[in-house]
Amino acid sequence: MKKLIFLAAIGVVALFTISAVNNTENQLTKDFIFGDANIASISSLSFGPEGILFLGDSKQATVFALDTKDVVVNAEGAKINVGDFDAKIAASLGTTADQVRITDMAVNPISKNVYFSVNVTDGTPVLLRLKGEGFENVSLKEASYSKIALTDPIAVDAEDRRGRSQRVWAIADMKYHKGTIMVSGLSNKEFGSTFRSIPFPFKNTQDYASLEIYHAAHGKYETHAPIKTFDVINMEGKDYLMASYTCTPLVLFPMEELKGGKHLKGRTVAELGAGNSPLDMISFEKEGKPFFLMSNTNRAVMRLDYDTIANFKETLTEPVTDFGVATGVEYVSLPMVNVLQLDNLDASNVVYLQRTASGEMVLRTRPTKWM
């Protein structure tokens, strides 16, 4: 009898679990619609939970959530080493490498499949999934999706009345983190930046934050500098936004305070030198210790240790006096240059797209122990 009750109890628990799982699924995709998503451009990709891929459409200033249904769990990603990568992508689209542009890359954390957003010369956006050394097209025309328009934080009523063009907020970077999609944008008109966090599933709400940074070199504060790339890092039990600006300061903002249009002063932890622009950022673990990687336009991939960042309690407030000298937290320059895209493949590997010294574009994986 006891056994029977025990089994029945297990059954009930299992039922609840299943319905809970179903509910969660429904919760995330219940507002999704099926059809042509009418995506005009893809400038940024970021995976959320359950195979949902977020696509940043700069042309329409819209974020799309796409249900890839790519949810078969793989603990490890396949080793990748593909040469002439741009030519291969182009060939799969029936054209040549000069006619395509790879705008972003993202790894599905569940299946470990690698996705690429590609623009062809007339602007048609394409989403591709790597399959061996070839590609699969992920349809944007027959897709299960939802979307949210990035509204302008500055009122544009008067402009709308006269039918004048809306601001274009080119999406500089986009990341999903704990139920929120975060977007940094650049204006095509004013020198300004926006940073917003949008709860997912999409409702009609989005939050703005006005972020202030201190330029160590400048000796001044400013709010308008555009963020080029960012990541969320967890240090000492707290989540921080690690933002990298066009003029290369690396600035930390506590995530819990990034809401309600609040004005925040960031803690500048490093000035990484001039003439360089950050491209991509990821976090990874090596021998149980968290690290942070950043690829750059004109410098090698930089590795920063979380502990060093956490222990760097002060903020850079003294103007930098030596030209081109990076200050603040220490970093290690890895022997990797011209890394265009970077993402975590699995717990112990990263995948990166690189233009080698010979001009060839390669897609490769690399164990984090060598990073």
């Binding site: 700069s58 291969k88 060939a91 799969s92 689209l93 029936g94 040549t96 542009r101 623009n119 062809v120 010369t121 007339d122 602007g123 394409v126 591709l128 050394e133 070839g134 097209n137 934080p153 500055i154 009122a155 008067a158 402009e159 006269r162 004048r164 063009s165 274009v168 080119a170 999406i171 500089a172 650049l186 204006s187 095509n188 008109k189 004013e190 020198f191 703005y208 934050a209 202030e212 330029h215 001044k220 504060y221 400013e222 709010t223 308008h224 500098a225 080029k228 066009t246 003029c247 290369t248 249009g261 004005h263 001039a274 003439g275 622009s277 491209l279 336009t297 103007p319 030209f323 081109g324």
Partner: protein
């Protein structure tokens, strides 16, 4: 030869586009041939139709010379031994393709839309003035056609310092270039980090353009439209650099030339300083006493240092206001609220823009 035009109900190809369908006579093999290539009105090759007796699962289309990576798309059977292939993106004009059944090449064909594409023109470069301040913040380029969305715009732009006799790089490189939605207008920033005093880039490299120097910017005709046609010609813009503009624009110094009522004569605004053309046209309005916007058109002249407003309806007597949003900038990015190169504290990103205004009276 039997010509059939395949019908694709799921697509937006309307029947009226069919006249663009073009017959390609490549009778390669007796048992199969390419029947037609379907072009859209814009000249895009969106599908091919062919007949073949081969196994439908054996087909693959390749770019000529390519053996490993097939073109992505869908083959479907349309009738007995008739098939169609719809690529994910239209096949490229001028390219040669090869249709295979396993290892056997069935056809070779070329895409030629026969549609003549016009050469794009660089219509306008703002600022249009040939004397510019050394803290100039941005340049706008306006094209007649949507431009290519691959490659980097800066690959087609060369800046030559005529005074120092050398090529220089003055623009900020951005991964996501700042085009308008139509891809006909590009914003180029002169590196703001070099303009802001004492920032590292400013200390290391100095201002992007310097007082007393003459520069020529060249725009290469290699720059192509979205349809793959190069600019009609090389374009250049030469300018001389004068001292930095470190003053905020001031509406009080504007001169207004006010027309009489009962006519559509233009209101003239002399700003005495060239302004950011795009922001000015967006951020300026004429309003009546009730605050209603007066319909009409603005036209820039005198190198964006003057404006004419022509009303859609005749002027009525009364008091009006020229209203300018504070975000409107001069050429150095100084707006009606603050200087570009200045400590900035913004309390709330959501705050509504401040509006600056000047009143005028229309009389009989």
């Amino acid at each position: 030869m039997d010509v059939r035009f395949t019908h694709f109900p799921a697509e937006k190809i309307r029947a009226f586009l069919v006249f663009f369908c073009f017959l390609v006579l490549y009778a390669c093999f007796s048992e199969s041939s390419i029947q037609s290539i379907v072009y859209t009105e814009e000249g895009k090759a969106v599908s091919i139709a062919f007949n073949s007796s081969k196994d439908p699962n054996s087909f693959a289309l390749y770019l000529k010379g390519e053996q490993e990576t097939p073109v992505l798309g869908a083959f479907s059977s349309t009738a007995d031994d008739m098939f169609s292939f719809r690529p994910v993106i239209p096949l490229s004009n001028g390219q040669t393709y090869e249709l295979y059944s396993k290892d056997i090449k069935l056809h070779t064909f070329v895409i030629d839309s026969l549609k003549t594409q016009s050469s794009p023109k660089l219509l306008q470069i703002y600022p249009s003035n040939n004397t510019l301040p050394e803290n100039l913040l941005k340049i706008y380029l306006q094209f007649s056609e949507p431009m290519q969305e691959t490659g980097n715009a800066l690959d087609f732009i060369k800046v030559y310092n005529e005074t120092a006799q050398k090529e220089e790089s003055i623009f900020l490189e951005l991964q996501s270039e700042l085009w308008n939605k139509e891809h006909t207008q590009l914003t180029l920033w002169l590196d703001p980090g070099r303009i802001k005093t004492d920032l590292i880039p400013n200390k290391e490299k100095g201002l992007p353009i310097r007082k007393g120097n003459t520069y020529t910017i060249e725009f290469s005709k290699e720059w192509k439209s979205a349809e793959g046609v190069g600019l009609a010609q090389d374009y250049t813009k030469s300018f001389f650099v004068t001292k930095a503009d470190r003053a905020m624009p001031n509406m009080e110094s504007w001169k207004l030339q006010v027309p009489k009522a009962k006519g559509k004569k233009g209101l003239l605004l002399f700003l005495y300083e060239p302004m950011d053309a795009i922001l000015l046209l967006e951020g300026i309005d004429i309003v009546n006493e009730q605050g209603d916007i007066i319909e009409g058109t603005f036209k820039l002249f005198s190198q964006e240092s003057a404006l004419q407003f022509t009303p859609a309806q005749e002027w009525a007597t009364g008091t009006y206001k020229v209203q300018v949003q504070s975000k409107v900038e001069d050429l150095a990015g100084n707006n009606f609220e603050h200087l570009f190169d200045q400590e900035i504290h913004s309390d709330n990103a959501k705050s509504k823009p401040v509006v600056t205004s000047r009143s005028f009276v229309i009389e009989d």
